[in-house]
């Protein structure tokens, strides 16, 4: 240190023989260590192990029997697995777009500077805070054919409602209604997105004579497209994993009308102890979600507009 004082050129301060740069590097790795370990064990390791399990028949207790592609060929031909694909896709492809539209409509309405905006926002958002079992319990009774809220309301206007959860035809629509009840979940994000659109864009459009509708399609939708994109991805991932309702409200019935992929996976693995087969289903579900996500990502180049991005 005393030597350094005498020199003109500054010398890097050294502590315990390591440069500042190297110390920062070590500190950085130490900081992210918890996540790194978790990632290696619970994500990377687990995924490899899971991929391996696809080729075995195992109950995890008595041993592993190699079956090659046995689980996969069995799965492709399994009518129940096919049924679960249909059920889950039906649920997802109806719920996600309607839910996006409702979330967007509510956000647009709330963004008009209405009185007590925060109050309305809270009311619409409330159902999304209470996910999981409690919501399933509540809706089980809402859908009760005789004393449930829905059929009683329908009867007031003279309609005899269906038997919802115990009807093969109406059980999935019941899940969809319940799913749509939570579509307020996207309004906070939509509102934030709407509020970040610069007002000068609307002013300029007004001067150019654009009406409300033109402004909506040519300014609001493009400027909000990254938010819509995000909600779409999250909606697809979430809806393909629909599980709690199916287990609690219908146990997959009636006649497997609500057998979702996740429920089938759970049944095969944790109820029938066929963990190899269950892993095969997990990977099938993973591939479906990945394919859909990639599809949306690829399509995003066409319809998602990022401010400041140069178009290729």
């Amino acid at each position: 240190m005393t030597e350094a004082v005498g020199r003109l050129q500054p010398v890097p301060v050294r502590k315990r023989g390591l440069s500042q740069r190297a110390r920062e590097e070590i500190a950085g790795y130490l900081c992210i260590m918890p996540w790194m370990l978790g990632f290696l064990v619970f994500t990377a390791g687990a995924m490899l192990f899971s991929l391996g399990l696809v080729f075995f028949k195992t109950d995890l207790l008595t041993g592993f029997h190699f079956v090659g592609f046995g689980n996969i060929t069995k799965m492709v031909a399994d009518p129940l697995f096919q049924k679960s694909l249909v059920v889950t896709s039906y649920y997802s492809f109806v719920t996600v777009p309607i839910s996006l539209a409702i979330g967007l409509t509510i956000a647009l309405a709330l963004n008009q500077g209405l009185p007590a905006q925060g109050f309305w926002r809270t009311l619409y958002y409330l159902p999304s805070v209470t996910s999981g079992i409690a919501v399933s319990m509540l809706w089980m009774y809402v859908f009760h054919p005789d004393v449930g809220l829905l059929n009683e309301t329908l009867r007031l206007v003279g309609i005899q409602g269906p038997r919802w959860l115990s009807s093969e035809k109406w059980a999935v629509p019941a899940f969809i209604i319940m799913g749509l009840w939570g579509s307020g979940g996207s309004i906070l994000l939509n509102l934030a997105g709407l509020q970040s659109i610069p007002t000068h864009l609307f002013e300029a459009a007004k001067i150019d004579g654009a009406g409300t509708w033109r402004q909506f399609w040519n300014i609001t939708v493009p400027m909000l497209s990254p938010t819509i994109f995000f909600n779409l991805i999250m909606g697809i991932i979430g809806s393909f994993q629909v599980f709690t309702q199916a287990l609690v409200m219908t146990q997959g019935g009636p006649n497997n009308a609500t057998l979702t992929i996740m429920l089938y996976l759970y049944r095969k693995g944790f109820q029938q102890l066929q963990f190899g087969y269950s892993s095969a289903i997990a990977w099938a579900l993973f591939c479906i979600i990945l394919a859909l996500t990639l599809l949306v990502f690829r399509s995003s180049a066409v319809w998602v507009y990022y401010e400041g991005e140069v178009r290729r």
Binding site: G28, F42, L138, M140, E152, L188, L189, K206
Partner: protein, 301 residues
């Protein structure tokens, strides 16, 4: 809004014509806003009705539950539906277990996610961007692929049927919380770190003494998210816990509803409402944090 108004004033010749036109426009605008308000109010009724119905059902007599047309305000308030379930099932034990999980996980997520986020946000090391990209991609990864191996690992460790599988993973940080905190920490000026370094602070004391106090708001956000997640979580307890003395409230509710017990609807509604209340209260009271957290992560995503 302001530019057209300015232009209107500038074109004084047409002012009279404009004014007559404006009266009509103002009325139309007022009417459409009123209509919008009515629609928004009606829509919110649809969203809130199931809650209201749950409250109403939980205090009805059996006769009134069955009655048509439905009674919204029961003639006698039957509060015993809120007491009876506690004799049927050990709900205080379920709540105690849930609170243990929540308490450990709040500490766990705040400590682990913040230190990892600090590393990613403030320190330079080789491979940082690549590792962060991997972290982001794990947020997209549906958990069912890792479910069976994780179960196998916990079974081998002898943790199945204890609260450990619900707690220990949280201490490795969650990708979402790390991402949220990292976005927040990026906004803290780097000059603070430099000043602290000159004062002789090491990296860990910068984390603990400077970044953590500044990140209080963001830590509040992740605490709320973690609380909501653990309180509502049904899947993990379902997978890992079999014996009733380790049940969380989510499993307790399901047991109450199971066909073997023949629990009356009013009691199920009452206990569901009780179970929902903490999360609803936390959301209503801490809404500002909720919104902040969603904005920090969402808009960037």
């Amino acid at each position: 809004m302001s530019i057209p108004t300015v232009m209107q004033r500038a074109v004084t010749g047409r002012a009279a014509v404009r004014k007559r036109h404006n009266v009509g426009a103002v009325i139309a605008k007022k009417a459409s806003r009123l209509l919008l308000l009515v629609l928004v109010a009606l829509g919110s009724v649809v969203f809130v009705t199931p809650f209201a119905w749950m409250v109403s059902s939980s205090v009805k007599s059996t006769e009134e539950v069955m009655r048509f047309p439905p009674v919204w305000i029961p003639s006698v308030i039957h509060l015993e539906h809120y007491i009876e379930p506690w004799h049927r099932l050990p709900f205080s034990l379920y709540y105690r277990n849930t609170l243990i999980v929540v308490a450990f996980n709040l500490v766990g997520t705040i400590l682990s996610s913040s230190i990892v986020a600090y590393g990613f946000a403030r320190l330079r090391f080789r491979g940082r961007n690549l590792l962060f990209l991997i972290l982001l991609s794990t947020m997209m990864l549906p958990s069912q692929v890792t479910l069976v191996p994780t179960y196998y690992l916990f079974a081998k460790l002898g943790w199945v049927n204890s609260l450990k599988p619900l707690i220990i993973p949280v201490y490795f940080g969650s990708a979402f919380n790390i991402f949220l905190l990292r976005q927040f920490m990026m906004t803290v000026p780097l000059e603070l770190d430099d000043a602290a370094k000159i004062d002789g602070c090491g990296f860990f004391s910068i984390y603990w003494r400077i970044i953590m106090p500044l990140a209080k708001a963001a830590l509040g956000v992740i605490a709320i998210f973690q609380f909501t997640y653990d309180w509502n979580d049904f899947f993990n307890p379902l997978i890992y816990i079999n014996s009733p003395h380790n049940f969380t409230i989510a499993l307790g509710l399901r047991t109450l509803q199971s066909t073997l017990l023949y629990t009356p609807m009013q009691q199920v509604m009452a206990m569901t409402l009780v179970a929902m209340t903490p999360v609803l209260l936390v959301f209503i009271l801490a809404q500002r944090y909720f919104i902040q957290g969603i904005v920090i992560t969402g808009v960037k995503g």
